[in-house]
């Protein structure tokens, strides 16, 4: 997977997550009918993420980044199909837990991929440019959605996000796969 494809795929993914984020918060607030449930839902997400990080980290070394990014994008594409039809607080809690895990997967793989992009030289520059593009797309998405929401229902927003996640995963799928044994031998892919 080359750097360009990676950044494009990640930007797309950031676009998807940024555009639904504010509306997702609204949704959590509406389903849980108190702030304590809101807090619990959000805390569950953060806590699951925290707890699975060590496991995910170790797994990542065994399975490779590409697999992980694919798990994240396909997983999120699926979750985006579930969110619009959630009705109970229990379902919401479950979704938060799954998203906590998927979030940890994303955080780990984005860093491992970035780490492989340089052998220590110009690491900062690469990371800087990666964050620039993904954040710019995230920001644009949030602003655009603010306008678009007048024309779309909140439900359809989640469906669009789901499709964006899917496209992002196709980009990764299309890029040349570095066989895992090669990655092991030569962790840095320039």
């Amino acid at each position: 997977m080359n750097y360009r494809t990676f950044v494009t795929a990640q930007s797309l993914l950031m676009t998807a997550s940024s555009m639904v984020f504010p509306f997702y918060l609204l949704l959590i607030r509406n389903i849980g009918d108190s702030y304590s449930q809101f807090g619990l839902a959000y805390g569950l997400f953060a806590l699951t993420g925290a707890l699975v990080h060590p496991i995910i980290g170790r797994l990542s070394d065994r399975l490779g980044d590409r697999t992980f990014i694919l798990v994240h994008t396909w997983g999120m594409a699926g979750i985006m199909l579930i969110i619009p039809i959630i009705e109970t607080v229990t379902a919401l809690y479950l979704v938060q837990i799954v998203m906590g895990i998927l979030g940890a997967v994303q955080k780990t793989s984005e860093k491992t991929v970035l780490a492989r992009q340089s052998n220590g030289v110009q690491a900062g520059k690469k990371i800087g440019s990666y964050h620039l593009w993904t954040s710019v797309w995230g920001a644009i998405a949030v602003m655009l959605t603010g306008y678009l929401i007048d024309f779309l229902t909140i439900g359809s927003l989640f469906y669009i996000a789901s499709i964006l996640y899917l496209i992002s995963s196709f980009l990764i799928l299309k890029s040349a796969a570095v066989p895992f044994r090669v990655q092991r031998k030569k962790p840095v892919q320039l």
Binding site: S34, S36, G78, L81, I85, G155, Y159
Partner: protein, 474 residues
């Protein structure tokens, strides 16, 4: 190989996408409704509301299952039915005719008591019978045949001249004690099962000036006080008592407010402006404290008592007595809710009834926040009449959880309380959650079978349905 997996992945995603969007669009088409009891969220097809009678008529002809709603303060799902259409009557609210000379008013059923008070107060008139609060719609009040603080005019049914009913077949008829009279005693206190009440003509009373007479007493002295100082004193027009739920004086101490016709009625004009301002912050805080602790209950009771004692001798117009505060009681909590119960016991049974009730409650863990007591005169006009005798009506405010487990727990206690009530030849009020058993219903309302039979006869397609009917008539 890779292509095959991709194809499977895409197909699965496609199926998931289709399923999700179909469920989502189905959800968008229906709407979850719950009444103020918050224990029965129900998915309904649609909420419809209109100001046009023809439109109502068309809907009744067209829709298969209909529930009728006013303010939805009935708490047993009387205004909802799964997949039914909800007729929200609140915007059907015109005052059609007001005749100050005859002292009558004709209003559409979505009109609230507050609307009527605003209209008639300048003419020195007042409502005969209504709840203690004025937020309710007239249609809703008729459907549950309310009573209130007034002790001279009976139940709401006694103040109704006539009404128009939109029948299940779409026909509109006039109903009074002379015309289509068979409907009269079924529709009032009929819980929306016989048709839509379109408009009602009510008899009005004179607005009067009352002097508040407050007395504190032991529950054993209440019956005697009521008989000699209230019932037999024609000057007393309204009455309300409170029974302590504070641990220190639990079901023993009472204080009583009698509204006595003031000697000098000329002073009425000074007091006749309708009270608009509600005191919310302090009572809300006190009630909040009493929800959470016994200590809070004691403080609330003592403060409330002092507050009321201070109003001894003060004046209030009849209209203002009939618009008591309710905002401070609104309660938002994710897991808990507040429900009402109302028990009727014959006046003579009061002291012994309270003793038996205390015996039950001392053993149970029930978060009881308030008990008010009113009086209702013997009246069996309505088929589902609660006033089988001259009765005291005790309204209990209960804080409970919303989970199934909590509902079962409250159910057990409430069934015990109702057993005690029935043992004292009492009865209970029907607009609340379906805690009572069918057997208890039958004992409290001996004509219940006749009521449901008539319902099926007059509405053979069961167009008008609600959860109360679902639970008890099947």
């Amino acid at each position: 190989m890779k292509g095959k997996y991709l194809l499977i992945g895409i197909s699965l995603y496609g199926i998931a996408f289709y399923t999700s969007t179909s469920i989502h669009s189905l959800q968008q088409k229906t709407v979850v409704i719950e009444d103020v009891g918050k224990l029965l969220p129900t998915r309904m097809k649609e909420v419809k509301s209109t100001q046009s009678t023809e439109e109502l008529q068309n809907w009744v002809r067209k829709e298969k299952t209909i529930s009728i709603a006013g303010l939805q303060h009935s708490q047993g799902g009387h205004t909802v039915y799964p997949n039914g259409t909800l007729l929200d009557m609140k915007s059907y609210n015109e005052i059609l005719n007001f005749n100050p000379k005859e002292k009558t008013i004709t209003v559409q059923s979505g009109v609230t008591w507050a609307d009527i008070q605003k209209k008639i107060n300048p003419y020195g008139l007042s409502i005969q019978v209504m709840q203690s609060q004025n937020i309710f719609t007239v249609g809703g009040a008729l459907s549950v045949n309310v009573h209130g603080r007034d002790i001279r005019y009976g139940s709401l049914i006694d103040t109704v001249d006539s009404f128009r009913l939109l029948k299940p077949d779409g026909e509109i008829i006039s109903v009074s004690r002379d015309e289509n009279s068979e409907y009269f005693s079924y529709v009032i206190g009929g819980y929306g099962l016989f048709g839509v009440i379109l408009d009602v003509t009510l008899q009005l009373a004179e607005d009067e000036l009352y002097e508040q007479r407050i007395s504190t007493m032991d529950y054993k002295a209440y019956e005697e006080h009521f008989k000699s100082n209230v019932q037999n004193d024609e000057q007393v027009k309204m009455h309300l008592a409170r029974l302590s739920v504070a641990p220190k004086t639990f079901l023993k101490e009472m204080y009583v407010t009698d509204y006595v016709l003031a000697d000098d009625q000329k002073k009425l004009t000074r007091f006749s402006t309708l009270n608009e301002e509600e005191k919310v912050a302090l009572p809300k805080f006190m009630l909040g404290m009493s929800r959470y602790s016994d200590w809070g209950k004691d403080v609330f009771w003592e403060t409330q008592k002092k507050h009321f004692q201070n109003s001894n001798g003060s004046y209030q117009s009849r209209n203002n007595v009939m618009r008591s505060d309710s905002t401070f009681m609104e309660y938002e909590n994710a897991n808990r809710t507040e429900v009402l119960q109302e028990y009727f016991v014959p006046v003579d049974e009061f002291a012994s009834y309270i003793d038996d009730l205390r015996k039950v409650l001392e053993k149970e863990d029930l978060n009881l926040l308030n008990i008010t007591i009113r009086y209702v005169e013997h009246d069996e006009d309505a088929v589902l009449s609660y006033a089988k005798d001259d009765m005291f009506a005790l309204v209990l405010l209960i804080n409970q959880g919303r989970s199934q487990k909590e509902i079962r727990r409250t159910e057990k206690i409430i069934q015990k309380m109702i057993d005690v009530t029935l043992d004292h030849d009492g009865s209970y009020y029907l607009p609340y959650y379906s805690y009572p058993t069918k057997k208890q219903l039958k004992q409290a309302y001996p004509r219940i079978d006749e009521f449901f039979q008539k319902k099926r006869e007059l509405d053979p397609d069961e167009r008008f349905k609600n959860l109360f009917y679902e639970v008890y008539a099947q």
